[in-house]
Symmetry: C2
Subunit: 334 residues, 2 copies
Amino acid sequence: MKVFYSPEHQVHDPENEFTNAGAIPYPECARRATGIAAALSSNPSFEIEMPETIAPIALETIHDTGYLHFLAQVYAGQRSHTVELTPTTFPSRGRGRRPVTLKAQAGYYAFDTTPLTPGTWDAALTAAGSALTGADCLLEGARSAYALCRPPGHHAGRDYFGGYCYLNNAALATEKLAAHGRVALLDIDYHHGNGSQDIFYDSDQVFFVSIHADPDYQYPLYWGYADERGKGVGVGKTRNFPLPPNTGDKAYIETLDEALHCIEDFAPEYLIVSAGLDICREDPLGDWAITAEGVAQIGARIATAGVPTLLVQEGGYDLRDLGANVRQLLTAFI
Amino acid sequence: MKVFYSPEHQVHDPENEFTNAGAIPYPECARRATGIAAALSSNPSFEIEMPETIAPIALETIHDTGYLHFLAQVYAGQRSHTVELTPTTFPSRGRGRRPVTLKAQAGYYAFDTTPLTPGTWDAALTAAGSALTGADCLLEGARSAYALCRPPGHHAGRDYFGGYCYLNNAALATEKLAAHGRVALLDIDYHHGNGSQDIFYDSDQVFFVSIHADPDYQYPLYWGYADERGKGVGVGKTRNFPLPPNTGDKAYIETLDEALHCIEDFAPEYLIVSAGLDICREDPLGDWAITAEGVAQIGARIATAGVPTLLVQEGGYDLRDLGANVRQLLTAFI
């Protein structure tokens, strides 16, 4: 099984996250991805390859031109790891215009206090490259592939960042494959994939299904409720399964089976999995109780869909077990 | 000159503000208002009175019912000063629904990381009371009055808080007076009064004029540009005068004269002044160079409008000089 990974992600490594409890060490750290890469490299079934370098124009299939300009230019020419730009003011609910100054645009393009650093753009570009190279891999006939993306992507929309995400890696791969057939995008991250949902909300070519912590108590708070089902020709092509605190293997697998049944009805030609491992019981950002054995079962169930599948790394913040959990998830695909 | 002030504001006194540079001591502190009250109490020309107690229903002339319910209930029954709820996630540009849980609604109703505390509602209610009692004072025939409001109000909109503001004191007074005649609302705070502008943007009964730091470099960033002029019947009834860093007395007074000329053309029956003293040269949040003498001139120029005038306290964070600066501003009105 091919794994697409570039160590370039390490140029993006913010120091702090602002939370309601004050500043904490940034959970979405470079060690997450280096740890996964190390865990996979010990098994020869995983062929770790560098992704292709992509041109920013390739991102315009999903992302807004002004937004991409902002991300690419706000720290143009700087590479310091220590400078951070944290948005603190936001154009609330539809009002407010985009300022001319790039630094003042940060909150305009954000929906939370996720920081930008001088390395963010380069790191995000290689993560997007891993997902797009993974999509190419399926188009060339592979049954499965894994894009070890960092920073993650599923909270990023056409023109906004947040939740540690800047470019929507899974959505970019989905859009690329959607030119060749129907695509199901299954988001199993602990947090709702609001960016992905938003991007494909009015599409009938992409079926978005997400299983996540109930947004009424958990980030991202304003999206991911069960009655969000799509719009226009996309009505019925979005499905959300919010779950309560302490969700364990049994309840999760039952919900996953229901989600996979919906996907089966859609009869996709390709499957993208937004693979967040923050569902696991030791994860510092989650409150579920999924075991390592549960993760292996989740992977095995998804593999029964029987369509070419690209797994794209999203969240997962338990540095000790993250690599092993990814390996568990991928076992059924090798 | 009557001054309306309640010491109740002190139950709202957050510890920290989250900024791009990390947490800093909260600039909008209780000592601001107690200092102003002390500075005025030494002069018998100022008659300091308690405002009338207002019922929350009186706020519905301006504010959204759901928003008021949130503010009143999120900390219902708690009075601890040390608990703070800081919004960190926001429904970006029109998307996202209101969660059921009150604490999860904080970011839904906010446009920045301004915190809520258990005392916020009570403090905001008395500040609104001061402004509304001030409006009554004009209706009873007074030529001028001053509402020593804290927390301030001009960044708060119908259904959002931010910029240290929760209830829009000046807008509440304006709306009350607008039932009796045309009202001009002149905002001289260093920061654009985005909430006030938003509330009266489509009104032809209220003329909103603001002189402030250019939003392209200064908070609130997304509002306050010169070409924002109102909409519908309100077109032409909003005027913005953004000014550059280091603005001094001369440039300011020239702009103020232009603003007052616009107000004169509108021929209001009442004038509300959103009085922020963060325009002064020692202010830690501003970068202008207005002197104490300049402040006295500003007050004198505004007084020449010759209509019943209510001054409502907004910003101003230089604890040493704030009281003296307010006294300077009010001199022409006593």
